[in-house]
Symmetry: C2
């Protein structure tokens, strides 16, 4: 167990960064020095950590010398510019952006699935996957280990906080305007989200899928080391604050009863099964927000697919979908946990 | 063309009933007398129709003698009790509840798909399908006619108004309470819907699917006359006022390019294609509400299914999903349109 780590959190004033600071207060490795960093726009702000109030430093002028671990969550272009500096100074970088995720020399890690991949990091970088992908692969991995998987069809229901803390604030302002019958010009989303749905997350690519849907397809394959897995996804932004959900249809290699799947998932790391239809128990964003697990419910046979199974998964996109997964990767590296 | 019909609307004070009154003002058959009916609780209320204010009569004591057409939309138990009286008096009944939908002697009709089935109605009843099912089968029928369909996987995003006008009102009150940080005890939904998702519509059945999901599976098969069609569905209530959406994954009998699918769907009755990713154009509940078509966008190849296609469909659940479809059935019967 390694103690007394020096940790830099880049994007410390953002939705994920703040969650990282909270999680770093109480984990199985101890942090001796914590450096909250942000762009010069946010420099001067104050971040709370372990009962202390820490000044947020300007990333552009920060010297990474002596930093053991740098957690980046300030957007792809920031990572592309500053991650190499942090690595050159000897820091292990865990990057929460999509900048390096598909680089073959950068492991893409969900600890419950492939923590061993984090050991081999020729570029000194480990990528943290996309939020909605993480919560799908955690339960999926348990099913893969049990019987193998063949096809995956996912429809997501993704909360506003996945677009950042400004977007989260804007959802409330949009909703208030709508309740008062006032017009509102959306800024953080391509159109109104309050009392609406936006079937576009990220930008469109040539094949008609969005970049978010490509992440679900490509990152799932990379994390699970199943390059030929057939995956399809529709990613939809919904007017929810925190907590992403997904309806997951999976074709397994062998038939698995819902009862057996429930047992396998109950024993899977990172998964909590909440699936009692007699008591109307199933997860939702409100109950997932602020918690660590991937909550799985609505487990049933999929009548459309051979050896098909359907389930519903909810998770806190800022925690397991981002900050928690990054911190768990760090734990895997520094403590072997 | 038949004119001067006497029409009774049962459930005239509800969300669908009010929409029926609006639609009956301006259609291709003319209504000479309109009788808005409701339970004794709502009797005495006033309904607006064609610039007139009509007293809502008590269904329990209403005499259907002389009524040509009775549109029922007041819940399954009301239909079970009163539809036989209306039929016995000689009225054609179009029933919007699930009471008779799976009865083999009751046609289940979406005019764009199977209007001819409405001619054979041994019980004098035609059933109007479930809201989310209608908007899926309308575009699906066009694909079926072109190349045939084999498998269907649907995830829905269903608005509050699908649960009735009280539920619609409650969503706003829930949202206001949430914005003010006040507690709210949900009444029209099994749990809070504002800023949340509820992956349960209807009641749970033994196989783990909800009654709403069974409607999607069984009604699709019956309407399309494809008893062996493999269908799977997850039905989710979302905090939207009016307008249901669905992500639809379909395995076709033959490959169809997105371009060809777009062309076929553009020519299909009841469908409007809104699918220009270069301009971020795709349908959503806000743009579908108050309109007649099933809006289809996000058309693309489904990489997980053989000959697979994915699309996104949005429609006004009170109009095409309920009142409009019922009125279109009536037009088919009374005018041959």
């Amino acid at each position: 167990m390694v103690n007394n780590l020096s940790v830099a959190v880049v994007g410390a004033t953002g939705a994920v960064g703040r969650e990282m600071l909270r999680l770093l207060e109480d984990r199985s490795f101890s942090v001796s020095s914590l450096y909250p960093l942000a762009s010069s726009r946010s420099a001067g702000a104050v971040a709370s950590w372990s009962g202390q109030r820490l000044a947020v430093s300007d990333l552009a002028t920060f010297d990474f010398e002596g930093i053991d671990l740098a957690l980046f969550s300030a957007g792809g272009s920031v990572s592309i510019e500053h991650v190499p500096r942090a690595v050159a100074s000897g820091a292990v970088v865990i990057d929460n952006t999509s900048a390096f995720r598909m680089d073959p020399d950068v492991p893409l890690v969900v600890p419950e699935v492939n923590i061993s991949a984090a050991k081999n990091r020729p570029k000194g970088i480990i990528a943290n996957p996309n939020c909605s992908t993480i919560q799908v692969v955690v339960p999926l991995e348990a099913l893969r280990r049990a019987v193998g998987i063949k096809k995956l069809i996912v429809s997501t229901y993704q909360s506003a906080s996945g677009a950042g803390s400004r977007a989260l604030d804007e959802l409330s302002r949009q909703a208030q305007a709508s309740l008062e019958g006032r017009e509102f010009k959306p800024q953080s989303f391509p159109r109104l989200l309050a009392f609406n749905l936006i079937p576009q997350i990220g930008s469109f690519e040539e094949d008609g899928f969005t970049s978010e849907e490509h992440k679900m397809i490509n990152e799932t394959r990379k994390i699970m080391n199943l390059p030929g897995l057939r995956v399809s996804a529709t990613c939809v932004r919904v007017p929810v604050r925190i907590g992403h959900c997904a309806a997951v249809h999976v074709e397994l290699n062998k038939s698995l009863s819902p009862e057996d799947a429930r047992e396998i998932l109950s024993a899977a790391p990172g998964v909590s099964v909440m699936d009692d239809i007699s008591g109307n128990e199933y997860p939702d964003p409100l109950c997932a927000a602020g918690t660590d697990p991937c909550w799985v419910g609505r487990i049933r046979k999929d009548p459309a697919l051979d050896n098909g199974l359907v389930f519903w998964v909810a998770a806190d996109n800022l925690r397991k979908g981002a900050a928690l997964n990054a911190v768990q990767i760090a734990e895997g590296i520094f403590t072997g946990n």
